[in-house]
Point group: C2
Chain length 367, copies 2
């Protein structure tokens, strides 16, 4: 994997990550394909929407169908018919957010499957084995996601554990895969610095910020992002995990973040909540019943070019599968276009202009 | 609407129905788009699969979103972004099969919505108004679907009612729309004849057989299809309603049926039941967990060209929306290819050969 910064505009960076499976233009949004599929979407559609990379989940694929199954049938790319880059999350966050039980030990984490309640034990070595079996292009270290609020003592012990696991992941790494470290440290700047220093000493291919957007106030999150990003090596990709509120993305890109992932565009789409140039739309509203206009008159996505709000509302009310497809297409298009235009703006040294122009639009979508 | 018989092979007919919105090659399979969408599919995909026409439902669209809504936003074709021909069923069968209450009067049928229990009253005139508002290319008369078993007295009264309603539909017909009569008469040949005679005297654009596959033994159904089809005018399209078991289709085409519709390929797809050249497949079976081969090695549909049984099983077990898409694509492709090859065989006077070749395959799929 190679990372090149093409242009800087303030701290915002226009870049390219080159992998064996293709180029990722940064700042990049990585649509989430939890179970080896971006919900409701096919791989050609994801290409058409401009996705350079998708994210998939170690936790989910370990539980179902099992990484050994995917390895045996030729790896995740072949399995899901996606030949572009894939980043796999390590499962640290999912164990934290999805499992009904989480028992953290030095060796690893015991947890229960959210699917069938079965008991499992993930270690850094196993997480690397899983990601190796999947054959993703970018793997993440196994981390402990520090909850919020957490005492300084808890956050310190947590980051120390993440650092130890990071070293074990490094020792067990797969040569064919890039490996990113994950900076923890809760909401304590000195701990964020300690975490970043320990990880930077191990020389990962990229660095992620974890344990953010876990319940803390926005201002605190922004402060942590700003501070933590400033600690990261300039020449490595910076990845802010799990954050997709585009107001937050703007803040984060301004500090030098290059990569994002979030289920927000896809999940909201399925719930009938749509992002548009005029603000957020709940498609089920009665007022759309006879509305023959497109969801967003300024949008040129497949959905807006071909269907009316009246039809979209009808499909949603009728629980038609096509509803989820058309809504997901629109929301992902909104996100991908936002990122595309943001990259263009950084390249033209117009990031601040872009930020000013988009802020009122985003405020109407993400409040 | 114009119907041309291009070639006959025994009683099997190769034909073309020409409508203002395009040509329908017959024998034709009409995929079902109940709620103004073929479940899980987009209109371009339906074109790609070779669908010349789709069917949609008066009953469902009357209840939701309402035919007046669809009329106001420009008609059903524009609403659902499908510019090919559409046939709308009249609601007679849905009132019979879906409503928790059905109170048949001379004037029409009182019934309760299966969605919210609200009370409605459909008359032949209203059914024609609805189909006119939808703007379908082929409308069906409002009929009473005679249940099975039914006494001869019931079946006689029922067919008389259908004939009266047929006349009222004819009087209320929309000029821009073809209108098909529906032959009833239960399992009584003389009543089938009476029904056919009464409808033929009214000179419809095409004739359907209704009230079949409602619980009667197969042999009886075949006997009724064979006899009833022989009563229909040669130069008009013959439509066997709601039947899609391809064994039944073979029998029916042999007697001179030209049009079919059925939810079987789409519904079975969503349930993980797939039709293949090697027989019916239940994708959830454990044996497919690590099976890297395609669902059907002899199939060139999008699903079989790009995905393994292992992946399809995984998507199905994970309840991914993409599962329904890939399965529906495959099953519809199986049906459309069957019909395409059947038309070719009729054109080549090889229908009997086709029937012999396909019978063992169909037996493994439809038993």
């Amino acid at each position: 994997m190679n990372f090149e910064i093409i242009h800087k505009d303030g701290n915002a960076r226009l870049g390219q990550i080159t992998t064996q499976r293709g180029v990722i233009n940064t700042p990049a949004f990585m649509p989430v394909g939890t179970n080896a599929a971006v919900k409701a979407m096919g791989p050609e559609e994801m290409k058409g929407l401009g996705a350079d990379i998708i994210l998939s989940n170690t936790y989910h694929l370990f539980l179902r169908p099992g990484h050994k199954v995917i390895k045996e049938v030729g790896g995740l790319h072949k399995f899901m018919n996606w030949d572009g880059p894939i980043l796999t999350d390590s499962g640290g966050f999912q164990v934290f957010s999805l499992s009904p039980l989480r028992n953290i030990k030095n060796e690893g984490v015991e947890f229960r499957s959210h699917i069938d309640g079965s008991l499992h034990f993930l270690t850094p070595e196993l997480v690397m084995e899983i990601q190796g079996s999947l054959g993703s292009d970018i793997a993440m270290i196994f981390d402990e996601c520090t909850p919020y609020p957490a005492t300084k003592e808890y956050a310190l012990n947590s980051l120390k554990l993440t650092s130890k696991w990071a070293k074990r992941c490094l020792d067990a790494r797969n040569e064919a895969q890039a490996l990113f470290g994950i900076v923890q440290g809760g909401m304590y700047k000195d701990l964020r610095k300690q975490s970043a220093d320990e990880l930077i000493a191990m020389d990962f291919d990229g660095y992620a910020l974890g344990g953010l957007s876990v319940g803390e106030p926005k201002e605190l999150m922004y402060e942590m992002i700003n501070y933590s990003t400033s600690l990261l090596p300039e020449q490595k990709p910076h990845y802010l995990m799990g954050i997709g509120d585009l107001m937050d993305v703007l803040e984060a890109v301004a500090t030098g973040i290059d990569m994002f992932d979030c289920v927000m565009p896809t999940r909201n789409a399925r719930n009938g909540t749509l992002f548009t140039s005029r603000g957020r739309v709940s498609i089920k509203r009665e007022e759309f019943k006879k509305d023959s206009s497109p969801l967003d008159p300024d949008c040129d996505c497949y959905t807006c070019r071909n269907y009316s709000k009246s039809y979209l509302r009808h499909l949603y009310m009728s629980k038609e599968i096509l509803s989820m497809r058309l809504h997901t297409t629109h929301n992902l298009h909104f996100f991908m276009e936002f990122f595309r235009k943001m990259r263009e703006a950084i390249g033209n040294e117009e990031f601040e202009k872009f930020r000013k122009e988009w802020t009122p639009v985003l405020q109407k979508n993400f409040n």
